[in-house]
Amino acid sequence: MGVGVKVNVWGDYALFSRPELKVERYSYDIITPSAARGILEAIYWHPGMRWIIDKIYVKNPIQFTSVRRNEVKSKILASNVLQAYNGADKPLYISTKEDIVQRASQLLCNVSYTIEAHFEMTEKANTSDNPGKFKDIIMRRLRKGECFHAPYFGCREFPANFALCEEEEIHTAYDVVAEKDLGIVLFDMDYSDPENIKPMFFRAVMRQGVVDLRDCEVLR
């Protein structure tokens, strides 16, 4: 086991897209381990270390709201562009108004979590690096609110506030709920083969408001 930290994160909105519903995005009920990792990496990361999420405490009730926005389709038909590019009578400028789609997002609102995580050293660490050094940097950043970039809940328009968790006992909104099954949730992406990045899933079960990720079965 590496060195552990507990971080409180909270914000007005969050969107942890379900991969099966990503055109009209629909959030998972809870923050995914990969989103939690992303938040910690926004605060501190180095190639010589790897964040591992141990537990997620769900401190606010799970609530949804929806927002529909005009969005740009990521790609337009290449053939159209080609015609515009070569064609004589087709105008070079295609109206992007045609390229706009309205998409709804189902967001979580008023979220608050405590992320319990630790880091492990990787082989890319410099010889001068050691867990104590990383730990000191991380603790300083958490105490002073320093970060590489502002962390966010799933999408950048939903910024996350963060602070070091110094509570002895963490209270969740589901303290009295013995067990709540949240279904299959994205665990993280497997980047071990950069040519073929694969998603990994796990069965998220919240017990007394806590999702324990240690020793969970990862489905590929």
Binding site: E71, S79, L82, S95, T96, A104, R141, G145, H149
Partner: protein, 303 residues
């Protein structure tokens, strides 16, 4: 070009609307967006970014280095092509471009970085907000996602807003057929009589330095664009919109001096006590509690 920014920033923008619709909700027949639980008005991040882009486009008129990537009326792929042309690729056929890029990638492993830099250098909005340039991914070139330093959240009104429906008539009839039967057509507008909105934003100096090269000049242009974003955006739907105040927090370091929420909490916007229905900016008082802000953070109020 001037130097890349060296400080982290946070900012609060206060803007108001009078008899207009700041941001329509496509889910609600273009009524002003409202947070259903609190009744507070919403303006999405992308709405504000569009205004900033439009302002920069108007002022800079596509000057070198200040092009705008996401434009009305220009296909995205065309802009990507410009990057390819810069790398000596002149093929217009999509397949061939992909092949050429693959070849280039083999010969020059850094080509994706070069393409990314080209895009960042030329397009102000990519430098600022980032972009997803998926066209390159096809050739397994990952110039792909560029994360920009500037991040904006949803804007929310200080007090609940009400949206008022205003029915209007016009004497001109659209179709011949309708003209035989009636003299006027009815239309509908929804307005917010008054609303003061607050948006919060973040600027990461690290992303500026490592990825997009967002510079001090770009930053000044961003402030200018935020202050004037509604000045070039007048329309029948908007009514009177204006940025009333821009409060900028400049940290002394690249990583920042204190948590962002502490700075945002220090900005208090309150309806004056004797006001029941706010109808003007003067009905509010804005206080920046300097005592809650570390001395190393420089506060700049612009209006």
């Amino acid at each position: 070009m001037s130097e890349v920014i060296k400080n982290r920033y946070e900012f609060v923008v206060l803007f108001d609307v009078e008899n207009g619709n700041p941001n329509g909700d496509p889910d609600a027949g273009n009524m002003p967006r409202v947070d259903p639980e609190s009744g507070l008005g919403l303006v999405t991040d992308v709405c504000l970014k569009r205004k900033i882009r439009n302002y920069v486009e108007t002022v800079k008129e596509d000057a070198q280095g200040y092009k705008i990537y996401i434009k009305e009326d220009i296909p995205l792929n065309r802009s990507d092509r410009e990057a390819c042309a810069d790398m000596g690729i002149t093929e217009t056929d999509d397949k061939k471009v992909t092949e050429e890029l693959k070849k280039l990638k083999k010969n020059d492993p850094g080509v994706d970085l070069k393409l990314k830099d080209y895009m960042c250098r030329n397009f102000y909005d990519i430098r600022t907000f980032g972009a997803v340039m998926t066209t390159f991914v096809k050739a397994s070139l990952n110039c792909g996602q560029v994360r920009g330093p500037v991040q904006i959240g949803f804007a929310r009104s200080i007090d609940p807003i009400i949206s008022q429906e205003v029915t209007i008539t016009r004497v001109a009839i659209t179709t011949e057929k309708d003209a035989e039967n009636k003299n006027t057509e009815m239309g509908r507008k929804t307005i917010v009589p008054y609303g003061l909105y607050r948006a919060e934003g973040y600027i990461s100096a690290n992303l500026a330095r490592k990825i997009t090269g967002f510079s001090e000049d770009d930053l000044e242009l961003l402030w200018e664009a935020i202050l004037n974003m509604f000045e070039v955006d007048h329309s029948a739907a908007r009514g009177n919109m204006a940025v009333r105040e821009l409060i900028v927090f400049k940290h002394s370091k690249e990583l920042g001096d204190c948590p962002a929420y502490k700075l945002f909490d220090a900005v208090e916007v309150k309806k004056n006590e004797d006001v029941e229905y706010p109808r003007k900016y003067q009905d509010y008082t804005v206080t920046v509690h300097e005592e809650q802000i570390p001395d190393s953070v420089e506060v700049r109020r612009m209006n």
